[in-house]
Every structure is written in structure tokens, then in C-alpha cells.
């Protein structure tokens, strides 16, 4: 009997198409998707959301008890203000913000929830002897910068304008490339091998340094080659600070693969010149018209990293910040070094809007569209609080989008309901190995509008919602089959032109 139970359980658990995950409402139930849009959360739910979003933990029993008292005394506003302040100075908030920044910078996260206390500059080898080896990965200037921004409520600009670093001893293979001790040797009066964490500061106008960009962790993550010419680093700067992810342009060589390879690996010049060897241009890739769409931005910024290879150079490299604004205007500002370029970036409207978008994604959600009006409002507030990190977070968690049930237009509500149905398809498709089927709940499906429309056409056809005689999906043997209500929802949604995509595309392409 027990063998039968185990077999049954295993069968269900490993099945990619488990029984319908759809909530089956009973009379009087209110489905989560049907919660009144824009209505405030209860005080207890708001407290839970506040605690989870700021510090990644639920409120304690004492927190809820104190809330109950505040509700009784009608002092909830004061309570929440005080609770927000308390959460923002917690170690857990510092850890959570550091984790968010690690993800933003595309660096490997620390494997364990860090319980490390702030770094003590005076600590010697005995401090490190108490650490778990996994903790070594967090002891580097980049992570220290992340932690300082959260713990000391520094301006968010510190990510680009920070001038204080900490070099850590090299203790093992895990921190060798990111400890900053050898990275800073050439520019600071510290020996290559140090026994204890050592502070290093630079002048405010030092053009060689630029906060997180001139740390060994950033350099290690975005390694450079003679061919790459710091474009990888430049691309990271554009993605993180200007929200320009520069999707690679596929160069059409009419099927001539050698043509593409020529661009990437140009033929070496023939001694004495001549046709056969070509011009010997070392940058045919960068000068191709299609490639220029990204390279006109990447190359000038890449030059500002040029003098620094594996470690920070004592010499500046001139470069430029070049890009085209949404209104067509061109930004083209020279800088003596990456430090000047970083400062220039912080003065751009696109930078402020991009950083505000990150906060929106973290505290409100990347699936909640951010319209232009709200974006402008947030950006204005970002400036008003002098871009101070925790002050801006306090503002965000007091916005209606955070404290209410999700605000949705009827169009968005319908799209959300459609997604709830379509996610049943993901359950089976996730296990499909022969054909790559994108997620039907991540819009635009397939990554762009054209792909989205193509897939919607197929979904409509396979569900026989376009008048086709036979429904092909889901397969007859599938445990999930859409019911009449779901099919009716999808039919109406298609007839209305599949609304709900526009806001997703706007958000995805910002």
C-alpha cells in the first residue's frame, strides 16, 4: 500500500502537466485576480509587504501586536513611518539591497544570506579566520559600495561617483580576482599583498575612478580582450545606468558566413599592402553600418577604460558619452576619463529615469506598467530627495501602487486573466525538448512584437478560436483542459485585439 502511495506521489510530482492549477472558486469566494483594483491593503497585509520588500522577512509577532495597538489608537501612520525607518536600518535591508544590485550588475550572488557585520577596518587576519569561505565573495569594494549605499542612505549616484574603496587580503581562489588589493596597487600606496582590509580614497575630481565601475569585481565580470576593446564594460554601463540593453544586431550577409567572420576576425594585412590582404582594417566590425547602431555608443565609452587592463591604471583615458535621446537629440560629451564620463551620466535625464525604473521594478513590480506621467513624478521625487537611496525607498513604499491591491485598467485586468489561463500551457511546454516554445505569460511572447503576434495567431488557431474546425491544444491526454468560461475569455480577448501588450512593450523597451 505504501509503495502504491509513493508511486502515485512521485508520478504526480514529476509530471510536467500536473492537475489543473487553476483556482476553482466556490460560491461567495472572491478570486485573487478579481480583487478590487486600487483598494488599499489591510494594515496587516501592508506591514507584511513592507517587511518582505525592504528586508526579505515577515513581520514579527511583536510587530503585529504593535500594529494592533496603533490601529486601536488610530496612530497607524506614525507606526508605519517608524516601522519603515526601523526596517531600513536593518542588516537584512542592507543584504537585500546588495542582492538586488548584484543581480543588476549581473554578478554571481553570495551563496548564503549574509549575516556579516559591517567591515571593521582595523580587523586583522583573525577576523578572516572566523569567516566561512563562502563569505569571502562579499568582501570586495563593489559589494562594500552596495552595502554603504543602503546602510548609510547615500546618494544612489555613489554607484558611479564613489571614491572610497576597501582593498581586502587575498585569502583563497574565491576572492583572488575581486579583492581589489592588486587592482588598486598601481594607483594607491598599498602593497600588492596586504594582511588586513585597507581603505583607499580618491579625490572628488579624480577622473580615473568611477564608483562601482572601477572595482576589480566589475573588471573581472566584464573581462576585456584586444578585440573587445572594453565594449563589454561599456555595454554594461549603458544597460545598468541608462537602461539601454542594445540588443545585438544580426548582420545579414546573405548567408555568407565568411563575411560575418571577416568582420569579427579581419584578415591580417599583407606586407606591402595589395588587394589580397585587404586594407588590414582592424575594426571592420565596428565600422559596418548595421553594427554602428551600437558601436557609435560603445566605442567612445570603451575608450575611457582603455588604459586599465586587469588593474586600475594610474593614467586616464579620454572617451565620450554618446547616445541618441528618445526625441532624436544626440548626446555627445567628451570626458578625460571614466570618472568624468560617470559624472556626465549622472547629469542625464535618461539616467534618473532609468534608476527610478529599477526601484519601480523592485518595489512595485516589473509587470505593473509605468506610464510616462508616473515616471516623471517618480523622477522628480528622486531629485527632491537628493537621490538618497533609503529616502527614495520610503517614498516608493508610500505610493498607492505599493499599498493598494494592484491598480489595473479593465484592459490590464483582462490581460491578467488571460495570462492566468495561458500559464497552464507553460506547465507542459516547459518540459518540451523538441521544439522551443516561449513562455506565453512573458510578454511580448518570444521577445518582440512580431513574435508575439505570430504566437498569438498560433494559440488562437490551435484553440480553434478562429473558427477552425478542430482544437489541437491542449492535447486530449493533457490533464488540463480549458473550460467554457476560459475559452470565452480568450475568444473575447482576441476579438478585442488582444489588448494589454502595449504597456508591456513600452516597459520592456525602455
Amino acid at each position: 500500500m505504501n509503495k502504491l502511495i509513493v508511486t502515485l506521489i512521485v508520478g504526480i510530482l514529476i509530471s510536467g502537466c500536473t492537475s489543473s492549477h487553476e483556482y476553482k472558486p466556490k460560491a461567495g469566494d472572491v478570486r485573487r485576480d478579481e480583487k478590487p483594483s486600487g483598494q488599499p491593503l489591510s494594515a496587516q497585509t501592508y506591514l507584511r509587504k513592507l517587511s518582505l520588500h525592504i528586508r526579505g522577512m515577515t513581520p514579527s509577532r511583536t510587530d503585529y501586536d504593535d500594529l494592533a495597538k496603533a490601529v486601536a489608537e488610530q496612530t497607524t501612520e506614525t507606526f508605519f513611518r517608524s516601522k519603515t525607518d526601523e526596517y531600513l536600518v536593518s542588516d537584512e535591508h542592507i543584504d537585500k539591497m546588495t542582492s538586488r544590485l548584484e543581480e543588476l550588475f549581473f554578478v554571481r550572488p553570495s551563496p548564503i544570506p549574509s549575516k556579516s557585520a559591517p567591515i571593521h577596518e582595523a580587523s586583522g587576519p583573525e577576523f578572516f579566520a572566523t569567516l566561512d569561505p563562502d563569505d569571502y565573495t562579499i568582501h570586495n569594494s563593489m559589494n562594500q559600495l552596495f552595502r554603504d549605499i543602503a546602510s548609510r542612505n547615500l546618494s544612489w549616484d555613489t554607484l558611479l561617483l564613489g571614491r572610497k574603496y576597501t582593498a581586502f587580503p587575498i585569502l583563497n581562489e574565491l576572492n583572488k580576482d575581486i579583492s581589489d588589493s592588486m587592482f588598486l596597487t598601481a594607483v594607491a600606496a598599498i602593497p600588492a599583498k596586504i594582511a588586513a582590509p585597507t581603505s583607499v580614497s580618491f579625490d572628488e575630481d579624480d577622473a580615473r575612478v568611477a564608483g562601482s565601475l572601477t572595482t576589480s569585481r566589475f573588471f573581472a565580470r566584464y573581462g576585456n580582450t584586444a578585440l573587445n576593446k572594453n565594449r563589454r564594460r561599456a555595454a554594461a554601463v549603458f544597460r545598468i545606468f541608462l537602461c539601454d540593453d542594445m540588443k545585438a544586431v544580426a548582420v545579414d550577409e546573405g548567408g555568407n558566413q565568411n563575411g560575418i567572420l571577416d568582420k569579427v576576425f579581419p584578415a591580417p594585412p599583407v606586407p606591402g599592402g595589395g588587394e589580397k590582404g585587404g586594407t588590414g582594417s582592424s575594426d571592420k566590425h565596428g565600422s559596418d553600418q548595421a553594427c554602428l547602431k551600437c558601436h557609435y555608443k560603445l566605442d567612445p565609452m570603451g575608450m575611457s577604460f582603455q588604459s586599465s587592463g586587469l588593474s586600475l591604471s594610474p593614467f586616464v583615458s579620454p572617451g565620450a558619452l554618446v547616445y541618441t535621446r528618445a526625441d532624436g537629440g544626440v548626446v555627445n560629451i567628451q570626458g578625460q576619463g571614466i570618472g568624468e564620463i560617470a559624472r556626465t551620466i549622472t547629469r542625464q535625464k535618461e539616467y534618473s529615469q532609468c534608476q527610478v525604473r529599477h526601484f519601480w521594478d523592485w518595489y512595485i513590480g516589473s509587470d505593473i506598467p509605468l506610464d510616462d506621467g508616473t515616471l516623471n513624478e517618480l523622477t522628480e521625487k528622486f531629485e527632491q530627495v537628493d537621490r538618497k537611496t533609503n529616502d527614495f525607498i520610503t517614498y516608493m513604499v508610500n505610493r498607492p501602487e505599493f499599498g493598494n491591491f494592484e491598480l489595473r485598467t479593465p484592459e490590464q485586468q483582462m490581460a491578467a486573466a488571460v495570462r492566468t489561463v495561458l500559464q497552464n500551457c507553460n506547465g507542459c511546454h516547459a518540459n518540451e525538448t523538441k521544439v522551443k516554445i516561449p513562455s506565453f505569460t512573458s510578454w511580448p511572447i518570444g521577445g518582440d512584437v512580431s513574435s508575439h503576434n505570430k504566437w498569438l495567431g498560433m494559440i488562437r488557431h490551435d484553440l480553434a478560436l478562429d473558427g477552425s474546425p478542430e482544437r489541437k491544444m491542449p492535447p486530449v491526454k493533457s490533464e488540463w483542459q480549458p473550460d467554457a468560461k476560459q475559452l470565452d475569455l480568450l475568444r473575447r480577448w482576441f476579438e478585442l485585439g488582444a489588448p494589454g501588450l502595449a504597456s508591456e512593450v513600452n516597459h520592456a523597451t525602455q
Binding site: 472572491v30 550572488p109 500559464q423 516547459a430
Partner: protein, 222 residues
């Protein structure tokens, strides 16, 4: 074996609730680090690595490893996204397995510290602690509590323990209502109570209750 069957039954019943996406949408699942933080918050044994080793709790139940990073939704630093858009079947296996081990370790800690009033107060409401405190042996106040049968608690006490556990693990009544996966607290406690047989010892009943709450959407989402 019977207890294990019940636990596995609970896994099936509540594993069916794991749906929707890993990525942020209307059902946002906890970030992997938040899962670990919340677990450590609810089960303090997770902060003692020496004890975890002795109780046989895998590294993968309290740290990101190469084996678990894809199923728990860790953002891949190469592409800036999690490997899976929605919790794969592996996520259910991971959280079920880890919840089982972590709770077992924590219950063992209760046995190891029968005088620790603060520790017991995390898992039992005051009315039960008051009633089952050993009046004679003050040095072992809760020695017998864990070995009491579930059926020996009167319905009011059973409900008190269930409600206390759900409140501690997820939140009070308004939170249950607002999260919307169940209408109210009673719906949740009734569902969990169906997995508890009268003959279960309280240590096992507690295990099942905590496991059941951890497998619910309310615990796993924001």
C-alpha cells in the same frame, strides 16, 4: 511509515497549489534569498551550521548551490534572469524536501531544549503551554508536551494551535484574506487539520502543520 505517508499526502495536496510564474507577475514568488531568510526567521536552527550538519540538513536547504539555483529561481548572472519563468516541478521537490528536514531539525531542537520557554513559545500558543507545563518538574517543563497525542487536545486547543501556527508562518486573518488563496483563516486551518490523525504525537502533528503551511502559496509568495 504511516507518518511519512501523511506527510507525503500533505505534499500532494498542497503541491498542487504551486502554479503561476517565478518572474514577477500577479503571483510573485519569493526571491530565493527571501525564502532562506524567512525559513531562518521561522526556524532558528537554520542559523547554527554545526547543528544543521548534525541533523543532516543539506547545504542546499539554506544556501544557494549549483544544484538548487535553477529550481529556486536564482538570477543567472550571465543573462540577468532566472533559468525558469515559473516554479518547475523541481521547486516543489526542493521546498518539500527541505521543509521536511528543517522542521525535523527544529523539532529535535525542541526535544533538546525542553526548558527553553522562548523556543517553545515560538511554536505553541500560551494556552497550551500553560496547560501542559509540568507542574512538578520545573527542570523539564515541556518534556511531555511533544509526546501528547493530537487527539488528547480538545477541539479548542487544536484550533488554537492551528491558528497560532498559520499566524506565525504566514500572518493574521486579514493577511490570509487579502492574499486571496483562501477566504479566511478557518479555511486554511480546516484544510490542515484534515491531515492530522488523533493518534499522532504532538511533535508529529506540529511537523505536519508547519510543513503544510510552508507548502501553501501564501508562504511562498509576497
Amino acid at each position: 511509515m504511516r507518518r511519512n505517508s501523511l506527510i507525503l499526502f500533505a505534499l500532494i495536496v498542497f503541491a498542487g497549489n504551486v502554479n503561476a510564474a517565478f518572474t514577477e507577475n500577479s503571483r510573485r514568488y519569493l526571491h530565493p534569498r527571501d525564502i532562506f531568510n524567512v525559513m531562518a526567521q521561522k526556524f532558528p536552527v537554520l542559523t547554527d551550521r554545526v547543528k544543521l550538519k548534525s541533523y543532516g540538513v543539506d547545504l542546499g536547504c539554506w544556501a544557494i548551490t549549483a544544484e538548487n539555483e535553477n529550481v529556486i529561481g536564482v538570477v543567472n548572472p550571465a543573462i540577468g534572469k532566472a533559468a525558469a519563468e515559473l516554479p518547475p516541478p523541481g521547486f516543489v521537490r526542493w521546498i518539500g524536501s527541505c521543509a521536511h528536514k528543517v522542521i525535523a531539525a527544529q523539532v529535535n531542537e525542541l526535544f533538546a531544549q525542553p526548558r527553553n520557554e522562548k523556543l517553545f513559545a515560538r511554536y505553541f500558543p500560551a494556552d497550551i503551554l500553560k496547560k501542559y507545563r509540568d507542574p512538578v518538574d520545573k527542570t523539564q517543563p515541556y518534556d511531555k508536551l511533544l509526546l501528547t497525542q493530537w487527539g488528547k487536545l480538545d477541539p479548542k486547543e487544536q484550533h488554537s494551535l492551528l491558528k497560532f501556527s498559520v499566524t506565525e508562518m504566514i500572518g493574521p486573518e486579514p493577511v490570509i484574506h487579502d492574499l486571496g488563496y483562501a477566504k479566511n483563516m478557518n479555511e486554511v486551518t480546516e484544510a490542515i487539520s484534515k491531515t492530522l490523525e488523533d493518534g499522532l504525537l504532538l511533535k508529529d502533528a506540529l511537523h505536519n502543520i508547519l510543513l503544510s503551511t510552508m507548502m501553501r502559496e501564501e508562504f511562498q509568495t509576497y
